[in-house]
């Protein structure tokens, strides 16, 4: 049972402001993911919530109580570190026991709790192993176990899967999601991996340069990015961008001129974009329609992923466009191809990077 609220949180190192006023509300039992490129301040923000970094300005509230000046251990949080930060000279049992012992919990109660958590995490056979004798995934589980036994109000994860190999990462992702459903605890998770963000989050917070770019559900971010940065950052392969110019505009739609002098009518609010405005048109690779009337180009590279195929198409004006099609699609290299841009899947971004409001919401988000 815990909510976390950030009110205009700021952090200044020497003279550089690295967190430039973040306001955010995290509901009880929510799984929130902070995502962004490296150096965007996501880890700093997490460490500020944890109490490992001072908050320069703003208020941090946990369960409605201001905790800016409360010791980390007294905030009711538990954190899983990127390097796991297990105590190497203590065995698994003692690693999990350390916090409980310092909190003055009686030995019998400690033992019951640790055994319980060890059972959930399948760590029972390793209770008396030292961290050095465990594999990466097991160490990860111990680190999570050490967080769980303390029964925290909020779990904090700082890029916990980045030290694992791809297969294990996928497995741990599922385990973490299952664990979150089971424990029902408020969780804040920091990652630079958008797959982790998309698959686990109830709510994603996209950060860049110490500023929140967008907060929303994974599909919200995917289908309705607020600005160019989010559109570029979320989605793999990334969205295609084509420079366009407004021909006519109304509140109902915007007609834009594509590089090949053809016109496209996009159903977004064009009330602030008079004719002649330069915009950026964005479309995701899976929405680019191959062999439909539209832009002409030449297949330059074909990436076959099995389930899907990515065609890198060089347009007439020299720009590269990525189209995703099913695994069976076949277009030989260097062959000419025509790609259609379905208007309802097109995003338009203004010169300030902000998206023009779309009229139709994605069916899953309606």
């Amino acid at each position: 049972m815990a909510t976390v609220e950030l009110r205009d949180i700021r952090k200044t190192y020497l003279k550089d402001e690295i967190i430039k006023g973040v306001s955010l509300t995290i509901e009880d039992r929510e799984f929130v993911v902070f995502v962004g490129p490296s150096g965007c301040g996501k880890s700093t923000l997490l460490r500020m919530i944890a109490g490992l970094e001072d908050i320069t300005a703003g208020d941090l509230l946990i369960d409605g109580r201001r905790v800016n000046d409360v010791e980390p251990a007294k905030r009711g949080l538990a954190m899983v570190f990127q390097s796991y930060a297990l105590y190497p000279h203590m065995d698994v049992y003692k690693n999990m026991e350390f916090g409980l012992k310092l909190a003055g919990m009686p030995a019998s109660e400690r033992s019951a709790k640790i055994r319980d958590v060890a059972r959930i995490l399948q760590l029972e056979p390793y209770l008396h192993h030292k961290p050095g004798q465990l594999s990466g995934g097991q160490r990860q589980r111990v680190a999570i176990g050490r967080a769980i036994v303390r029964n925290p109000k909020v779990f904090l994860f700082d890029e916990p899967l980045s030290n694992l190999d791809a297969a294990l990462r996928g497995q741990m992702r599922v385990e973490l999601a299952t664990l979150h459903r089971r424990l029902n605890a408020t969780t804040i998770y920091v990652t630079h991996d958008q797959v982790e963000a998309m698959t686990m989050a109830d709510k994603i917070v996209v950060l860049q340069g110490g500023v929140v770019e967008q907060v929303g559900s994974p599909l919200e971010l995917y289908h309705h990015p607020r600005n160019l940065f989010v559109a570029k950052f979320i989605g793999s392969p990334p969205m295609n961008f084509i420079p366009v110019v407004v021909e006519t505009s109304s509140t109902e739609s915007v007609t834009v001129r594509l590089p090949d002098e053809t016109f496209l009518d996009v159903p977004v609010d064009g009330s602030n974009t008079p004719a002649g405005t330069a915009l950026t048109l964005g479309i995701r690779p899976e929405h680019v329609a191959l062999d439909e009337p539209g832009l002409a180009g030449q297949v330059e590279i074909v990436e076959r992923l099995g389930a899907a195929t990515l065609f890198h198409i060089r347009l007439r004006d020299g720009q590269l466009l990525v189209a995703q099609s099913d695994g069976a699609a076949d277009h030989p290299l260097d062959s000419g191809v025509s790609v259609g841009l379905p208007p309802r899947h097109c995003h338009l971004f203004g010169a300030d990077g902000l998206a023009l409001a779309a009229h139709a919401r994605h069916p899953l988000l309606a």
Binding site: L52, M79, F98, R146
Partner: protein
């Protein structure tokens, strides 16, 4: 070519490569050892050349029944244990202190290391004449300045004073080793301990000290080897006195051989020192081997 044949050839080449080192080692250590063993069973006194020939175990009997020997033995162990206690204890605390950020840390680090570069005789002389001298010493004038009678340290507490001087010399070594060890501690571990509710004392006790355990064993081992043979500091400051109050085994052997010219008796003392050094070595190696395991 079979594997066995190849190994045989490599072994011969290896032996050839090794032999210069082995020969030098033999000449410089085994020969003196054997000669000491030989003399320890001889009547060999430079004052009385007429007295010679085999002494049997007389040299050993005189040594072991000599109360000075027991005193010097105890002094040796007290000196080693005391200096280790002080240098490792304070060294650990200083290492943690010097790991913190503070103004002028670089200079402070150089200063804490510098005693190590002062040679033992000089260090002992500085302490004896500049610092602790009852009339000219800095310490004594400080005491007199506030109206107190200065203590004549080397007369009244000879062992404690020698111990202090040696500890002062060896503290930089332990700080140096332990500081690098403290610096290698993963900062996320300290943070994890903070999240677990460990205050500064608990972090020191449960995170930092266990992390330093290996480095501390190495410091103890290396210091013990040197501390068993402390000589210059005693010779310069107290010359083993008053009486034998600050005589350790190394100084006792020196006194026997070169002050009393009893080479036979000194050799017996030397053999005793070898035995003691080996006993200590066995304990140390076991402790270290256990501690160096993962």
């Amino acid at each position: 070519m079979t594997t066995a044949a190849r190994t045989g050839r490599v072994d011969r080449a290896g032996l050839a490569m090794l032999s210069p080192a082995v020969v030098i080692l033999l000449i410089w250590s085994i020969v003196p050892l054997v000669m000491t063993l030989w003399y320890s069973f001889r009547n060999y006194n430079l004052v009385d050349p007429t007295l010679h020939g085999f002494a049997g175990i007389d040299n050993y009997r005189y040594l072991l029944t000599d109360p000075d020997f027991i005193t010097s033995l105890i002094n040796t162990l007290v000196l080693v244990a005391g200096v280790l206690f002080v240098s490792v204890g304070i060294g650990t605390l200083l290492a943690v202190l010097y790991d913190q950020e503070f103004f002028g840390r670089g200079i402070a680090r150089v200063l804490v290391i510098s005693p190590f570069f002062v040679m033992p005789t000089v260090a002992a002389l500085v302490w004896k004449n500049l610092m602790l001298h009852p009339i000219y010493g800095v310490y004594s004038s400080m005491m007199r300045a506030v109206g107190l009678t200065p203590v004549d340290w080397l007369q009244q507490f000879p062992m404690a004073t020698v111990m202090m001087i040696v500890a002062w010399e060896w503290l930089p070594f332990s700080v140096l080793i332990l500081l690098t060890a403290v610096q290698s501690l993963d900062s996320e571990q300290k943070e994890a301990a903070r999240m677990d509710g460990a205050g500064p004392v608990a972090r020191f006790r449960y995170i930092i000290v266990p992390h330093l355990a290996r480095a501390i064993t190495v410091v103890i081992m290396i210091e013990t080897i040197y501390l068993l043979t402390i000589f210059a500091e005693i010779s310069v400051t107290t010359a083993g006195g008053p009486g034998v109050a600050s005589t350790n085994l190394a100084f006792l052997i020196y006194a026997r051989a070169l002050l009393q010219f009893d080479v036979g008796g000194a050799s017996a003392g030397g053999m005793a020192a070898i035995v003691i050094a080996n006993i200590v070595a066995v304990f140390l190696v076991r402790a270290v081997a256990r501690n160096l395991e993962v």
